[in-house]
Symmetry: C2
DNA sequence: CACGGTAGTAAGGTTGCCTGACTGTCAGGG
DNA sequence: CCCTGACAGTCAGGCAACCTTACTACCGTG
């Protein structure tokens, strides 16, 4: 049975934050569904913080933490999981033996580009459904809000 | 120390889900900041699921759970917290003594309309910053995506 | 070469949910 | 009637995704 919503009173417009969350969940749901379909196993929403922020030559844990706005411990756990699934590897930095370079494996690179491709597909699909211009405006508007309203707020994780 | 992001390689465009999350967090942050400023104490993000879905005449726990997509237990805890802060009250339904009607107190109604007012302000502010039309398109696009992509997915919480 | 700073790890706590099991109440049929 | 299945809500316990505090190993500089 289909989640009866019952008769809503009040509530003329859906609050914007709720809309944003719903749309994000739709996009993320589609992304991870298709990643799983393509055989990329064990990738969870949160792992986006690694895939999104890692450099091609690899990055330090600390760097990933700074960029994602998470703590080193949080990132460390995510990296550990991705390592277990073979998407990244930790290699000791020979120039600074305190540090380890987190680097995508070949499989990791595949997953990363698959994710990018799928998200591009999602945007194209939406362009088809509601018009190319509207989706372009959507994206631009979101980017501008972030640019204008971010005095100095660290990014709140959020996966690709 | 302003969260040095370092030189990003790759990543031509910010992934859409990340943008959506960032914008939502900006809106929600502003909302709760201003609610706190206006003296509405103890309201947390998650409480939105109650304020958003409760009817003016009050609603049952089960109804709130269905509408929000959360479990009865989760909603129950949120309601308990709001009750502690005086925003809602649980009254036994005389027609069905299994049920309790969750109803906003006067203070709760104040908070609810303050939230609506503040969110409207946020949208107005963004209209000023990036053009009325763009924000209108933004909203419409989000609503359409939800409408078109939601076969039968229960709403994922998301606060007002 | 001592010492403050940085890279990463370890341990444990908090938040926001969930599942499963339970109590009390309702309503329809035997 | 009252019995039984369904429903409203609560209780207990668990898990995910974070966080803070505390530590060890290594770096570079004076």
């Amino acid at each position: 049975m289909t989640t009866r919503s019952g008769p809503r009173k009040r509530q003329p417009t859906v609050p914007l934050p709720a809309l944003l969350t719903q749309v994000r969940d739709i996009a993320m749901g589609g992304l991870h569904q298709r990643l799983a379909d393509e055989g990329f196993d064990g990738i969870r929403y949160v792992h986006g913080s690694v895939f999104r922020f890692i450099d091609d030559e690899g990055s330090r844990l600390t760097t990933l933490a700074e960029r994602s706005g998470l703590t080193k411990q949080a990132i460390s756990e995510l990296v550990g999981e991705l390592e277990d699934h073979g998407y990244v590897e930790r290699i000791v930095d020979k120039a600074d033996r305190r540090a380890k370079i987190i680097r995508l494996t070949d499989q990791g690179r595949l997953a990363q580009s698959a994710a990018a491709r799928i998200l591009a597909d999602v945007e194209r699909r939406w362009s088809r459904l509601l018009g190319k211009d509207d989706v372009a405006v959507l994206r631009r508007a979101l980017e501008q809000v972030v640019a204008l309203e971010t005095a100095d707020t660290p990014p709140t994780s959020a996966t690709p």
